[in-house]
């Protein structure tokens, strides 16, 4: 062995403290120790080329993270003690938290499990260590979110059974199937899906909206959590970029595989984010920016620069990016209109925007809002006080891949619903778009397995055939408390009393006429 007498630099020292603890096995075959590394077809010729995306030894990790946790929990304690929920902008805001706790927090837990697994799967020890650190970080997020929302749960409805709902409720199968899809994939696809496509490319479109939404609406608990998680996320993002560059540099045969994954996970992420778009445009009493603006900054600009950078590896921007870019002016309105109609089957409340809010939407969406959406919303707003709050009692057709009802419209004609279907092995399958249909065609064996909530209700697998039984018994949504219109809801009344106002009896009667 060469005689070394120079002090190790930081990079080499970190390698000695991580990957050098690994060794070439000789008593067991490497393929048996790492059986999942090759079936996806990704070729790794030299793991030593892996660049550690960050250098954090465990002692430093414990120290930094403990400091962050100490500050975070001090704020949580103060928030609960001072009844911080009374200082938010308006109780409608809490509905964004309900969506977050049931839709996003369970994904943090799934991420913990997924990273723990890939943190074992790779034969490159440097990559394993980075993944394990993300695993424990994601456990952190899952738990601190429970703690951040704990006080809200004591004072508002709809936050009381998040994990149970995540496994069952119709719209929560959108985020759940997204993560199930990633976790059932091989380790390289998992990282391409979550570390790269989600954490690196799209994360700003999830966390910035929720966290600045919290800041604009006086929610100290969630803001503090968001800031505290930021340095974790920074590490996760560097892992995402490193992983993609590493795979692409290892072998040219990897390029088409990665391109297919990028296409798939961009589209799946984009569809998932329509829930966030609706939250931003409709559920925040104090608005941060419009969904279209967020998409322009965080995807069109930042994502554009990223894919320019990846061009040298032979990677092009995701397929159907043009469709997604065009849809930024539509998806949030289409999603809110849907949730408004199905507000009897959600754990959060829905409502029609007030006049100044409608004006804000008109101004932010000059091309589309007045033309396609405002008239319908104004009509619904008029119907409600007449005792005809609109609820749709038919069950929607879900997309086989993204599991969102087929509510989106064609790129070139916003008056036509986008709908695709194919027959596979004698069965007909429905999709919201070419993007989702293509994903199915690549892996039909996978997507035929989807647990589609509407099918499951029809098949009698949800404790009842009628919506009311499913919603109350199977979903654990407390009817008349968690669901229906916001105006007149128990949350609304409680908020009025917090603010020392009388609740208007005429308004509060109106939630009764839901089917």
């Amino acid at each position: 062995m060469p005689v070394k007498n120079k002090k190790l630099n930081l990079k080499d020292k970190y390698q000695y403290l991580t990957r050098d603890m690994a060794w070439e096995p000789s008593y067991q075959k490497k393929e048996d120790i790492f059986p999942n590394e090759s079936f996806e077809g990704i070729k790794i010729t030299d793991w030593s080329q892996w660049e550690d995306p960050f250098r954090l030894t465990m002692d430093a990790y414990w120290k930094y993270q403990a400091e962050k946790e100490k500050k975070l929990y001090a704020i949580f304690d103060a928030f609960a003690q001072n009844n911080g929920h009374q200082n938010i902008s308006d109780a409608r805001y809490v509905n964004a938290l309900k969506l977050f706790l049931t839709g996003v927090s369970p994904l943090e837990h799934a991420a913990f499990q997924g990273y723990a697994r890939v943190g074992r799967d790779f034969s490159g020890a440097g990559a394993r260590v980075a993944c394990q650190m993300q695993a424990i970080d994601e456990l952190r997020h899952s738990q601190t979110q429970q703690h951040a929302m704990s006080h809200y749960n004591k004072h508002f409805n709809g936050l009381h059974d998040a994990a149970h709902m995540h496994d069952r409720v119709w719209f929560l199968s959108v985020p759940k199937s997204f993560f199930d899809d990633a976790r059932t994939a091989g380790p390289f696809e998992f990282l391409t899906a979550i570390s790269f496509s989600f954490e690196y490319v799209l994360t700003n479109l999830l966390f910035v909206p929720f966290m600045s939404g919290a800041a604009y609406n006086g929610d100290m608990a969630t803001v503090t959590f968001g800031f505290s998680a930021q340095s974790d996320e920074a590490r996760h993002m560097t892992l995402g970029l490193e992983v993609i560059k590493f795979i692409l540099e290892q072998h040219e045969d990897n390029v088409p595989i990665v391109q297919r994954w990028i296409d798939k996970w961009f589209w799946r992420g984009f569809r998932l984010l329509s829930l966030v778009g609706m939250m931003m445009d409709y559920m925040l009493p104090n608005r941060v920016m419009s969904w279209a603006e967020a998409w322009e900054v965080y995807y069109e600009q930042n994502g554009g620069a990223l894919f320019k950078d990846l061009e040298r590896y032979g990677i092009r921007p995701p397929k159907y990016q043009d469709v997604a870019n065009d849809a930024k002016n539509h998806v949030s309105h289409q999603a809110w209109a849907t949730f408004y109609q199905y507000g009897h089957a959600t754990n959060f409340h829905t409502w029609m925007p007030e006049k100044d809010e409608l004006d804000w939407l008109s101004q932010k969406y000059p091309e589309t809002f007045d033309k396609y959406y405002r008239p319908r919303f104004e009509y619904w707003a008029k119907e409600h006080p007449e005792g005809r709050r609109f609820y749709n009692n038919t069950l929607p057709q879900l997309c086989q891949v993204c599991q969102i009802p087929t509510i989106f419209t064609e790129k070139d004609d916003p008056t036509v619903l986008s709908h695709r279907q194919i027959v596979h092995e004698g069965e007909r399958y429905h999709f919201c778009s070419d993007g989702c249909c293509d994903i199915f065609k690549d892996e039909p064996e996978k997507y035929v397995q989807a647990w589609l909530p509407v099918h499951q209700i029809y098949q009698g697998n949800c404790e009842g055939g009628d919506v009311e039984t499913v919603v109350s018994k199977y979903y654990h949504i407390n009817i008349g408390e968690d669901n229906f219109e916001y105006i007149g809801s128990p949350d609304h009344k409680r908020w009025l009393s917090i603010k020392g106002k009388q609740s208007d009896d005429k308004e509060s009667g109106s939630s009764q006429d839901a089917a």
């Binding site: 062995m1 005689v3 007498n5 002090k7 080499d12 020292k13 000695y16 403290l17 991580t18 050098d20 603890m21 060794w23 096995p25 067991q28 030894t57 002692d59 990790y61 414990w62 120290k63 403990a66 946790e69 369970p106 837990h109 799934a110 499990q113 723990a116 697994r117 943190g119 074992r120 394993r128 394990q132 650190m133 695993a135 424990i136 456990l139 952190r140 738990q143 601190t144 429970q146 703690h147 704990s150 749960n153 004591k154 004072h155 009381h160 994990a163 149970h164 496994d167 759940k176 199937s177 199930d180 059932t184 091989g186 996978k446 397995q449 989807a450 647990w451 409680r494 917090i498 020392g500």
Partner: protein, 333 residues
Amino acid sequence: MSIEIKTNSVEPIRQTYGHIARRFGDKPASRYQEASYDLEAKTNFHYRPLWDSEHGLNDPNRTAIRMEDWYAVTDPRQFYYGAYVGNRAKMQEAAETSFGFCEKRNLLGRLPEETQKQLLRLLVPLRHVELGANMNNSKAAGDATATTVAQMHIYQAMDRLGIGQYLSRIALMIDGSTGTSLDESKGYWMDDALWQPMRKLVEDTLVMQDWFELSLVQNVLMDGLLYPLVYEKMDQWLGEQDAEDVSMLTEFMRDWYKESLRWTNAMMKAVAGDSEANRELLQTWIDHWEPRVYDALKPLAEASTGVEALDETRAQLATRLKKFGLNSQGVSA
């Protein structure tokens, strides 16, 4: 000035989440409870794993152990993430003081070459065992089907990485941060006859499928013999070899092991006590693995403390397992 008194709405409408209330009643819950129970997805998974078509996601059948409720396995330390890192931050602070003290006075660099070599041959190669433990616990964290169980394993995984790093730093102190001592020590791990049974054992654990069997072998049987042997008995022996300063640098491991017994014992008690079938299965695994662990450590004991020390730790393990209605080959002293 008038004071407006609000009588309303400060009263909570519920004390905790529904899934916590179903277990413990609707009363104020601890942070540990809200962070640990029923968070993991249980049902209605969408697709089967491409990497294991025989099982689903979060599939309880990834181990042959059957529990009526895996959440019956809980952590007596009540560690959720915040409590865990808070505790380890304190432990690492103490370790840092010791490492700083040794480094400043060059206590290891001044040891006789023969003693240094003993450290590199007998102690530092354990960093590789730690990495194996790290991998095995990461697997268990990914496969376990209750957050109470999964989280203990990811903490354990990260702890083992940390311990491997502390062991590595001992060598870096010896070689003045050039890495030569780590290279030398790794050579013993790879080629020295002393380590080959242990390296084979670790590699054998890396191909195990059943995560609970793996946790038993790693966290109860291997650690149960190795930690008392190395960090108690061999620590004393090293002191007699003029390497008593090293003891400061392994204090973390001693404290850590004492603490880890709390959760591994609680886990064993809950699992073995849940059914006779579980107990029998655990017994089969112990019968198979305990002698292998013993044999793997024998050369290390022979080269340092003598085999009697290993026999003593073996008897301790046997006494410990007895409490769960399980037998191993150790003879109680």
